[in-house]
């Protein structure tokens, strides 16, 4: 099982106990009196059978607080997830956290910085690189790209999961669309892994049929589920951080109630995919520090509920280039997500939100992950690290620590050594071609692609994946969708 990073100190909190209570009461109020729309007949009947008031005509469900709180208690506070290689299994929850990859609709051209559709090779290479990065523990949905050249849109998700299964042995999540979860589940079962299924609300306060049907399928396959609201505050949620944190929680909680009614004890993750609205362009406002405030409040609430959290929205950048803005926005957002106790922190590869991705960015993010991981592990204080005896032995000048065994043993544990950052002196830097972190990341990408060989699937498993893809293509052709 992967160790991830374990926070050794109290999480960052911004809400007082009174504020927490107010948000919780507001969430219950929304669920009980405003209600949530579920465009799914079977779900409506299930809610009704279990004590919810249901307006079948308006498809609106009103949740009694007792059922809500009972459902939250039924969710495991931490759980195991099975990867293709057992050494990559995860235990999600508690004070340990893992970094997940991010994803992007397109790749970018590093000369022009313009986005373009990735090729199949680039998609598979992107997965290979994530497989090689030690601090990327989990591959997210549609990752690295939302489809690639030559793939009809209905096949984007099945082709994406096939690439991840083939080129990585790490745990992964996958989405749903047009019934593709049927094939996702078959592929996962064919290779004996679990995938974390997506279940997305459509804010405000609505779940569409496709999402609910996918939730039924993933839960019945006994896979864990991550439930996401995806509210854009100022547009599909209140413009205030408190208000949108509450509606996001209400939406996710309604999804949790459903999963626990389908099967008690279903493993769930509360996923924050909320963004502020960019009031000029109409896009989500990536890179907004307000989002980090939202995440800290969200993480604090869900820690209280004892449900693991995924800050998939950690704070991707709004920059179109891999540059200073991209670096600071990404790093600040990811650091705050980790400090405030997110169990999964989305990070690797994204550039302009989920609109673009590049493996070089994933290599740079690997260093951000390493820095944050080192930070949260805190300061070890014991006889050996205090080194009172050694200090006595070395004494004042000309005493010296560089030649001591204690230094050789401890410095690498205490310092994080980045793989792509420039740490040279000026003379060395000039002599070695004045390289930047971007140059080092490019070199590392070439090195990984020439040396890292993901553990291949057994031949019969690979054939089975191909057969399932063929079955999916046939299914969509018969439906006239490709």
């Amino acid at each position: 099982m992967l160790k991830g990073f374990t926070r050794k100190f109290k999480p960052l909190e911004i809400l007082t106990e009174e504020q927490l209570e107010e948000i919780h009461r507001g969430t219950l109020e929304i669920l009980e009196n405003t209600g949530i729309v579920f465009h799914h007949e079977k779900a409506l009947k299930l809610f009704n059978k279990n004590g919810c008031k249901v307006d079948f005509e308006k498809r609106r469900v009103y949740f009694p607080p007792g059922l809500v709180e009972e459902s939250l208690h039924k969710c495991p506070s931490s759980f195991h997830m099975k990867a293709r290689d057992p050494k990559n299994d995860l235990r999600i929850g508690g004070n340990t956290f893992y970094f997940t990859s991010a994803c992007g609709m397109k790749t970018i051209d590093l000369d022009t910085w313009e986005p373009r559709v990735a090729t199949k090779q680039e998609n598979y290479d992107g997965v290979t690189i994530l497989d090689a990065l030690d601090n990327c523990h989990f591959l997210t949905v549609y990752c690295p790209y939302f489809g690639f050249e030559g793939v009809p849109s209905v096949m984007a998700i099945p082709e994406s999961i096939a690439a991840k299964i083939r080129n990585s042995t790490k745990v992964q999540a996958e989405g749903y669309s047009q019934d593709c979860e049927i094939f996702n589940i078959k592929m996962a079962k064919a290779v004996g892994i679990e995938i974390m299924g997506a279940f997305f609300a459509s804010p405000p306060l609505t779940y569409y049929e496709e999402a609910v049907e996918a939730a039924f399928r993933y839960v019945k396959a006994r896979f864990p589920i991550y439930i996401s609201s995806g509210c854009v505050y100022g547009a599909t949620g209140p413009a205030t951080i408190a208000g949108s944190t509450m509606t996001t929680s209400a939406e996710i909680t309604a999804g949790i109630v459903l999963t626990q009614l389908i099967k008690t004890g279903t493993r769930v993750v509360a996923n924050n995919y909320t963004f502020p609205q960019n009031m000029k362009t109409g896009s989500p406002a990536f890179g907004q520090i307000g989002l980090s405030l939202h995440n800290v409040a969200f993480n604090q609430i869900w820690r209280e509920y004892e449900v693991p959290v995924w800050n998939a929205n950690y704070c991707p950048s709004s920059s179109k280039k891999i540059d200073f803005q991209c670096g600071y926005e990404t790093a600040i957002g990811a650091l705050i997500a980790a400090l405030s106790g997110s169990s999964l922190v989305g990070l690797h590869g994204e550039i302009y939100g989920e609109l673009s991705y590049h493996p070089i960015q994933s290599i740079l993010d690997e260093d951000i992950a390493g820095m944050i991981g080192r930070f949260v592990e805190g300061v070890e204080v014991n006889d050996e690290t205090l080194a009172v005896d050694l200090i006595g032995e070395v004494g004042p000048i000309p005493g010296f620590y560089l030649n001591k065994e204690h230094t050789r043993k401890w410095w690498k544990k205490e310092q994080f050594v980045p793989k792509a950052a420039d740490r040279l002196t000026y003379p060395e830097w000039m002599e070695k071609g004045k390289k930047s972190c971007l140059d080092y990341a490019k070199e590392r990408m070439d090195e990984i692609l020439s040396t890292h060989k993901p553990i291949p699937l057994a031949e019969d498993q690979d054939k089975e994946i191909e057969r399932i893809l063929k079955e999916a293509r046939k299914y969509y052709k018969e439906k006239g969708m490709m």
Binding site: M105, G147, S153, A156, Q178, S202, Y208, Q277, M279, G282
Partner: protein, 214 residues
Amino acid sequence: MSDEVLKNLKKAVIEYNAEEAASWARKAVEEKIDPIKALDVMTEAIRYIGDGFGKGELWLPDLVGAADAMQSAMPIIEEEIKRKGAKRESLGIIVIGTVYGDIHSIGKTMVATLLTAGGFTVHDLGVNTKAEEFIEAIKKYKAGILALSALMTMTAPEQKKIIAALEKEGLRDQVKVMVGGGSITQEFADSIGADGYNPTAPGAVKLARSLVGK
């Protein structure tokens, strides 16, 4: 009195007040004010907001607020225009909507508002709009342009379906189709036989003008 009513109608749109806008529109009808003039002052108001947005002085909530106010008054004025058989000068009639399966409205609303500000008559069908609803609206409003929005990769193919439906209905030659949305590219627009694509809302107005030769 008529000037007062028109001034207040314009003010209501500029102040994002949907209730007041509808109320002054009703008043305009009661006072037998030329509905074309009422429409013109609302368009002026939207243009004022659109200009402010373009200059970076106003923001999306202002644009959407003004659009909502105008939308609330619009059916009242349109009904009167229809009743009087009046004709309004406009650069062209546009039917706009987000395609079926897609509930993203912001980009579409921005484009619709700026097209209105730019002098077009715009009929916004909203989100999650089926091909047959677009066809029906094109016939009803005698539209010259159909503007389609799709944000998601999964819903972009719906635009192709709508173009096929136009062909089937024999409407393709009468309507110019412009497409947009997060998942759309020029290549995609070309591949489905759209007449135009632009990735930005102000660009969509320029595109619409070029499609009607203005």
